[in-house]
């Protein structure tokens, strides 16, 4: 993976010491909260309902085992023994003390991590396909381009105070696992006419109060032009984006108000001026970064391991876990192992320090020390030999990380909601817990098959509820928690915003409502049809009738 150069290291260390000084000045009374607040936010430190919360960036979702062990240590020493992996592939600690935060940041810096640009109206951590570098359907490792974007966007002076926060996602694969169409900018690696790698560029996607699917801005952008083009895109947005209204300040509003064509024209005009300037990426620089992502020393293996096949045959539990949690790797004999952070009845995305340490050990033993965080709030061991999967599965079971439910109804995305978040209008986690418990029976869960269910505790949509096949939004209705249901959302290459099915449900009725929706699907699906397939074929009517009766 990419290793910091001296410049990165210097900047991050300076930032830690600067923040230490700012914290001291706040505690001594020299700085007021008004003065201090923006400074702590610039370092990822929020104040939530019960305590401070520190959001640490996991650049494009990639972690080494050493970094994971550091996160475990921080959870254990400075926090309450756990961390929460987020839908932006980051991790949050829920109980850090202000006085100790500079020490936490100093420890993070030791393993080339930080909390910079995890808050504020800047370019946030670029997210990527969690199978980057491993996926069988990948054109090229998107992390190369994420790293180039990271270096360009970190401390970018012109884009530190954008109209709003700005999120970029990159995928190098045919199947979009990075939800690029609901990002401010989405980038897809594509092949040019001569076989060279370039980019398809999308803009103006986003969730929140006004959910929108991105528009395609360019079919093919040559690799050398990536940064100059992004710069032009950001400049046009920075100039024309609305600063008068927080809710209208995202690029999606600009793109949809003036139209994709007008936005594209403005970008192309801006780009023409800077295209061959300092931002043009020299081939050597691309090669230097590409080298940092040289694949690990894979062994030459048979495509199928007989030992692995035998284990599946012998052990039904293992076979089930393989079927739901293991994905095809680009190298013969290897596999991608997904680690679900969604045990039935558990808190989506939470991991204890012990689990983090264990997973770091498994990464060392079976995955070249590499780990990934998925935006679905799960972890990934990207490069496991098929014949090691059985031992891995047993080991995962010993730390309660073997839930065989990736991509099923048990794999719920849920934001922290009102249990932690000061902006929440309702809780999300208890709803996720009740649903995953209701559908805990594995036979039933796997019979239901592939369905995404996403929950947000307020309209900010951190739980991506609009793009869940089933979406749940918690609202406050006269002081009571109330839940709105949307159906038909998709976060993949067929991205779609779900539609509200009807009146919402009280907290004691929402789980039954979800069960009704699922039972309806089971009763009307055709052979081999997924939940979203049935919904797209029949529309909302059968579900509406089941929920609310025929009017």
């Amino acid at each position: 993976m990419y290793v910091y150069d001296e410049l990165d290291r210097g900047l991050v260390n300076e930032r830690v010491e600067e923040f230490r000084d700012q914290v001291n000045r706040r505690i001594s009374g020299e700085l007021t909260e008004e003065q201090f607040r923006p400074l702590r936010l610039m370092n990822g430190l929020y104040l939530q309902l019960h305590a401070y919360m520190l959001r640490v960036a996991v650049p494009y979702g990639v972690l080494s085992s050493t970094q994971m062990r550091k996160l475990a240590r921080i959870a254990r020493v400075y926090d309450r023994g756990y961390g929460h992996f987020t839908t932006r592939q980051n991790i949050q600690f829920n109980w850090p003390k202000l006085e100790e935060t500079p020490d936490i940041l100093a420890e993070l810096a030791e393993v080339e991590m930080h909390a910079i640009q995890t808050s504020g109206n800047c370019i946030r951590n670029t997210t990527a396909d969690q199978f980057a570098g491993a996926a069988a359907d990948e054109l090229e490792d998107p992390r190369i381009w994420c790293e180039i974007i990271r270096q360009w966007s970190t401390f970018h002076p012109e884009f530190t105070f954008l109209p709003r926060k700005f999120k970029i996602a990159v995928t190098g694969a045919v199947s979009d696992r990075a939800a690029i169409k609901v990002h401010d900018i989405g980038i897809v690696l594509v092949q040019g006419t001569d076989g060279e790698v370039g980019f398809e560029i999308w803009a103006g996607g986003g969730l929140g109060r006004t959910p929108m699917i991105a528009k395609k801005i360019r079919d093919f952008l040559p690799a050398t032009d990536l940064l100059s083009y992004l710069e032009a895109m950001l400049r046009v947005y920075n100039r024309f984006g609305r600063r008068d209204n927080k809710y209208k300040a995202r690029i999606k509003i600009l793109v949809h108000e003036i139209g994709a064509d007008a936005y594209r024209d403005a970008v192309e005009a801006e780009w023409a001026d800077i295209r061959d300037g300092a931002l043009a990426l020299p081939e050597q620089e691309i090669s230097r970064i590409r080298e940092a992502f040289t694949p690990p020393a894979f062994e030459a293996l048979e495509t199928a391991s007989t030992a692995f096949e035998a284990r599946k045959f012998e052990d039904r539990g293992f076979a089930r876990w393989v079927a739901s949690n293991v994905r095809r790797h680009k190298v013969p004999g290897y596999a991608i192992a997904n680690i679900s952070l969604k045990p039935a009845g558990g808190i989506p995305g939470d991991a204890t320090a012990e689990q983090m340490d264990a997973v770091a050990d498994y990464a060392d033993r079976w995955s070249f020390g590499e780990l990934r965080v998925a935006h679905e709030q799960n972890l990934v061991l990207p490069h496991v030999r098929q014949e090691d999967l059985y031992d891995l599965w047993l080991a995962l079971g010993s730390v309660e990380l073997d839930a065989p439910n990736i991509g099923t109804l048990g794999d719920i995305i849920a934001c922290p909601g009102m249990d932690y978040c000061s902006l929440a209008t309702a809780r999300s986690i208890p709803v996720a817990q009740q649903i995953s418990e209701r559908f805990a029976d594995l036979e039933r869960l796997h019979d239901i098959g592939s369905v995404s269910l996403n929950i947000s505790g307020c309209i900010n949509a951190c739980g991506h509820h609009h793009v869940g096949n089933i979406g749940i939004l918690g609202v406050d209705k006269k002081g009571e928690e109330f839940y709105q249901v949307t159906l038909g959302g998709q976060a993949d290459e067929n991205a779609a915003i779900g539609k509200i099915i009807g009146p919402g449900f009280a907290s004691d009725a929402i789980v039954d409502a979800i069960e009704t929706i699922i039972e309806t699907y089971l009763s009307v699906r055709q052979d081999g049809e997924t939940f979203i397939g049935t919904l797209n074929r029949l529309g909302q009517t059968p579900f509406k009738e089941a929920l609310y009766g025929t009017a």
Partner: protein, 95 residues
């Protein structure tokens, strides 16, 4: 008027605290209770004078229970007095 008290988060560790007659407490039952707008304003002014110790003071409405304890009317505030409902081993509820 409904009963009001002042809450904030402690600067050092961010934990939830309540303004008492002579300082701050982690216990809601120790809070100084206001019964009028003027009293609330006076309490808030006192709280704001402690800006070097606390963050973001604001008033919340509470009800006095039969046993004399105070209970926030809003669910959000009730959660703040206890801790996450999904981790009853954490926050004040754990003590």
């Amino acid at each position: 008027m409904a009963l009001e008290i002042i809450t904030a988060n402690r600067l050092g560790d961010g934990l939830v605290i309540f303004l008492t007659t002579d300082g701050w407490s982690a216990r809601i039952d120790a809070a100084a209770v206001s019964e009028t707008k003027d009293e609330t304003a006076a309490l808030l002014a006192r709280a704001e004078a402690d800006a070097g110790l606390v963050v973001g003071p604001y008033e919340i409405t509470v009800e006095r229970q039969a046993d004399g304890s105070l209970h926030p009317v809003k669910y959000r505030e009730a959660l703040r007095t206890r801790g996450p409902s999904v981790r009853t081993d954490l926050g004040y509820q754990a003590a």
